[in-house]
């Protein structure tokens, strides 16, 4: 739904209201989303709005009356309007690239410039793609650090641990996830749950990776 986000920038104040109102509707209605996408795809490809019979084909509807009803609905949401002959005029139908190109002359849209410096969630959470692994948390030893059983942690193997990092490590043959603390020359692995005791490696400590982020999906 990328094109919807961009609309906020190109819409005037009063349309913005319509848009917000519409957003509530559209967000809850998958079917409408799909249909709007179909029409806007058509618009992008052919450079004009579809006729009623073409909409019928797009939506796989035989009856023009059903098309008429849908168009009425879309008209109310401010996505399109009809001219005096009943043909469709796009208002907010345009997609991403189109919107940027049809801004009134003389005023370049800020959108294009602004969007250059955005990153995806993937880029935010993953620094080195080739060295990143997922892990499902089973224990609660980092409960107070906000890592709970069932959480998904993103582990980066390319990082070297520094003081305060959460690490996945093998201590004397046992695997654990703890906070990496340096005290002088020795290393201590700290839990974040009073039920557990800090671990001081006796013989061997092998750090398998550093936790870069934690993901908890609720829905």
């Amino acid at each position: 739904m990328q094109f919807l986000i961009i609309l906020t920038i190109s819409l005037t104040g009063e349309r913005l209201f319509a848009y917000n109102h519409f957003m509530v509707n559209i967000a809850n209605n998958k079917k409408i989303q799909v249909r709007v996408k179909l029409i806007s795809d058509f618009y992008r490809k052919s450079g004009r709005m579809p006729s009623f019979s073409e909409i019928g084909q797009l939506f796989r509807l035989k009856s023009k009356n059903s098309v008429f009803k849908i168009v009425n609905k879309l008209e109310k949401t401010g996505l399109l309007k009809r001219d005096h002959k009943g043909r469709l005029i796009p208002l907010s139908m345009k997609q991403h690239t189109k919107v940027l190109g049809t801004i009134e002359a003389g005023f370049p849209s800020p959108a294009e410039e602004e969007l250059i410096d955005t990153i995806s969630l993937d880029d935010l959470l993953i620094q080195n793609k080739d060295a990143t692994f997922l892990l499902k948390v089973t224990g609660d030893s980092l409960k107070d650090a906000g890592i709970l059983p069932g959480d998904m942690v993103i582990v980066d193997k390319s990082l070297n641990p520094v003081n305060g990092d959460i690490v996945i490590a093998q201590v004397d043959g046992e695997w654990t996830m703890k906070i990496f603390k340096k005290r002088g020359n020795s290393i201590i692995l700290m839990p974040a749950n009073p039920k557990y005791k800090p671990i001081q490696p006796k013989n061997e400590l092998k750090v398998a990776g550093v936790v870069a982020s934690v993901i908890r999906k609720y829905k």
């Binding site: 060295a131 892990l135 193997k157």
Partner: protein, 438 residues
Amino acid sequence: MSYQPPLTIDQWPRAIMHVDADAFFTSCEQAIHPELKGKPVIAGKERGIVAAASYEAKKRGIERGMRLFEVKKLCPDAILLPSDYETYSLFSVRMFDIMRRFSPQVEEYSIDEAFIDITGMRRYFHSSYGEIAGRIQKTIEKELDITVSVGVSLSKVLSKIASKHRKPNGLIIIAGREIHTYLSELPVEKVWGIGANTSAFLKKFGIYTALEYARKDEGFIKRYLSKPYLEIWHELNGRSVYPVITEPKDDYKSISKTKTFTPPSSDEGFIFAQLSKNLENACIKARRYNLCANKVIIFLRTQEYKDTGIEIRLNRPTAYPLELFDLLRDGFKKVYNSRALYRATGIVLSGLKLDNNIQYSLFDDTVKIVKMNRIYSVIDELSDRFGKHTIHHASSLPVKIQAQHEGERGDTPYRKNSLFKGENKRQRIHMPVLNIKV
């Protein structure tokens, strides 16, 4: 004594590196299940044979292709795992990505092997070719937790000899002036591209080692052998002729689809259904690359690993199973023996042509062909959206009579059974999962 040209080259006209992962499938398993490190691990449980064995298992005498009951006798404490191709593929892609950080010229030779052209990279990295190779090797080990064997030399054939020289985790550099020392100990049949028949032929001329082959004069090679062997001869002499090909493979000479099922079966309906599914799969792949086949080869493999097959020639290339089912059934009847127990079926499509220049004959029903084209493009679209075989032919239905593999439930890879919220059987996050209890 005849004159022996010295095999010494002082410079590096080309620097080719060969990377070969050590026991790749099982190394991946040990990387995501670190508790399995140092233990004999075997992948291929779902097929009933060893698909890959860790070095610990190889030391106990386990080889690829061995059946699992033999494994249990040899090494009762072996850990058998179902193959997890999704994870192996993810590791493979990452391994190639890491190599591309060092040089853009990477040839993905197979899932666990690659050639890298690092010619001219010395100045950029301020280090020798050997040091660059060492850094690639170490980065792969640190980031993926698997080891690879690396060879660097003047040509592809030589670099492959180098990487094989010391496995696992080896790093061998064959510089121009050392070529002869490596070739003198190497039997000629161990050279990439020289098979059993050629080496037997060469022995008639007293050529036993790679060095003896490399030292023959060009006239001899040209007179008795064909062009590929001349190329190998150049490569062994340190003159690179095989380029490092960076484009992914997109043209196929043939497409084959084989499927093994355990336990073996003699049920006619079931075996034909397997074959029918093979055909559907092969055609899906052909259509993905816009290809049509001229020839269809059917084969059935018995429990004793004997293959019987038949080749069907078509009067017009096609990639639509519907047009092929009648022929498939006829061919199947010819090769099927009701007393045999079969363990695998397979289909090979060959004589592949691009589907945009097919000559129809006067008697072809073009209306029907156009219809078929429409049906299959819808089927392919549905498969894209909802998963392979969302719509399939009824003749493939009987594959469900028996699970593909006995005890199938326990034999699916761990990754497919432990899903995160939001993942499903078909789509999972594009990232390997560490199986560590923390």
